[in-house]
């Protein structure tokens, strides 16, 4: 198997200030498929081309932000191994029983010094993309409902201890560092990490407050669809932060915008194929403006100041 260990981001659980408004937004504007609600009040969604049961959960709370970010691993054996490795590293882990999250197996949960809850799991029900597994059509009606990303792609999380997050993701979980932003004194300000051929599966920003969400990101096939997303955002009065433009960092063609509760999300296309043997690409802090917005070469004030 080409990709082993951690396979991909599996789910993000996001807090919204009004659940019904949040459901309408994630279903009808972002265009995720509605997968229902559980007895705890968490509402489940998947992107149309994802095969596992869900990738986004929202729940109502009095504070916006992110509860947890989960990754799927290749097997129960790998899950057990990572649990032991994390404990050996000195991280406290917790087992969440199978079924606590709908159609999801046991999860191994831990908290970074950054304050973020990360979890690993090996099993989530395959529900497919409605096309079956023989001679599927290339897309479905759901691929045109709202912005309709093909997958939840990654998240950018912010907190004080970037170095521990880097150490755990690289040295325990087997990720590699694709790109980084580095201050003149050598301190890393931002890191983009991959467990696959994607340019990022998770990223971190150094920030004065812990446990902060910068954004959860959704992948689109083409730049045209990014522009279509921009139209849909404006038609629905979605507050846009940056874009449409292109990032220098990762080369993604992007829009940053906010959900109805102030959680930033990204819709993007492109990037490039990365490999674990590639050297890390470095952006000295003075080049962050074009790293963020290559077209405008502008360090948007909100990028390092607005979090949920």
């Amino acid at each position: 198997m080409a990709i082993t260990g951690v396979l991909r981001p599996g789910h993000a659980q996001i807090r919204v200030l009004d659940l019904e408004e949040g459901v309408k937004f994630y279903r009808d504007v972002l265009g995720l498929v509605d997968m229902g609600r559980d007895s705890q009040g968490r509402h489940y969604f998947k992107a149309w081309d994802e095969r596992d049961h869900h990738s986004v959960l929202i729940r109502q709370a009095d504070k916006a932000g992110i509860d947890l970010f989960g990754f799927k691993v290749d097997s129960e054996e790998t899950l057990n191994k990572f649990e032991k490795d994390l404990q050996a590293y000195g991280v406290t882990t917790k087992r969440i029983p199978a079924g606590e999250m709908i159609n999801t197996g046991e999860r191994v949960q831990f908290t970074l010094n950054n304050g973020h809850t990360i979890e690993l799991y090996a099993d989530k029900k395959d529900v497919g993309n409605c096309q079956g597994y023989s001679h599927p059509k290339p897309w479905t009606p759901e691929a045109e409902h709202g912005i309709a990303p093909v997958r939840m792609d990654h998240a950018l999380l912010a907190g004080g201890d970037l170095d521990q997050a880097l150490d755990i993701f690289v040295n325990v979980l087997g990720f590699y560092l694709v790109e980084e932003v580095v201050a003149p004194d050598g301190m890393k300000v931002g890191i983009w990490l991959s467990c696959s051929n994607k340019v990022h599966d998770i990223a971190f920003l150094r920030h004065t407050e812990d446990a902060k969400l910068h954004h959860v990101s959704f992948y689109l096939d083409t730049w045209e669809k990014v522009l279509r997303a921009a139209d849909i955002m404006s038609m629905n009065e979605v507050p846009v932060d940056i874009g449409p433009t292109r990032h220098g960092i990762t080369r993604g063609a992007t829009i940053y915008a906010w959900d109805r509760s102030g959680n930033r999300f990204e819709t993007f296309a492109g990037g490039y194929i990365s490999y674990p043997d590639h050297k890390t690409l470095t952006w000295p802090l003075e080049h962050l403006p074009e790293g963020l917005d290559y077209a405008q070469r502008k360090l948007h004030e909100t990028f390092l100041t607005v979090f949920s």
Binding site: L17, D18, K24, F25, D28, V29, D62, K63, A64, G65, G146, I232, M235, N236, E237, P239, D241, W258, D259, R260, S261, G262, N263, R264, E301, T302, T305, V306, F307, S308
Partner: protein
């Protein structure tokens, strides 16, 4: 699509609204704002500055202000991460979540305060 008749048509069909004046206490600058839109959106739409603009949805804190004069009402939830009950009682609000009822004077206390006001 969530709605194509959201705020735009509702502005035309809902009860009458009027324009009031919002004044930034620190600079004395002011702008006209409809009683049917948030204080922050009123400022932003006119290309004015003074209150930092962030998520515009009640989840961050950069548009935080204290209303020192005038009446307003809250039309959206604000994240309690940034606005406590006591702050609300002291008229500290996220300006993306309040609509003015009459002329307002606001003091900017949001995070980008230094960047905006100390130039």
């Amino acid at each position: 699509m969530e709605t194509l008749k959201g705020n735009i048509t509702s502005v035309m069909t809902e009860e009458a609204y009027e324009y009031v004046k919002i004044t930034i206490a620190e600079t004395g600058e002011s702008f006209d704002c409809s009683t049917n839109e948030s204080v922050l959106e009123g400022m932003r739409r006119l290309g004015k500055r003074g209150i930092p603009v962030g998520c515009r949805s009640g989840g961050c804190s950069v548009c935080k202000c204290q209303v020192v004069k005038g009446e307003y009402h809250q039309h959206r939830p604000m994240s309690t991460e940034y606005i406590s009950k006591q702050e609300l009682e002291e008229n500290c609000v996220l300006t993306c979540c309040i609509k003015p009822k009459d002329n307002l004077e606001v003091k900017v206390i949001g995070k980008m305060h230094k960047n905006i006001c100390e130039k």
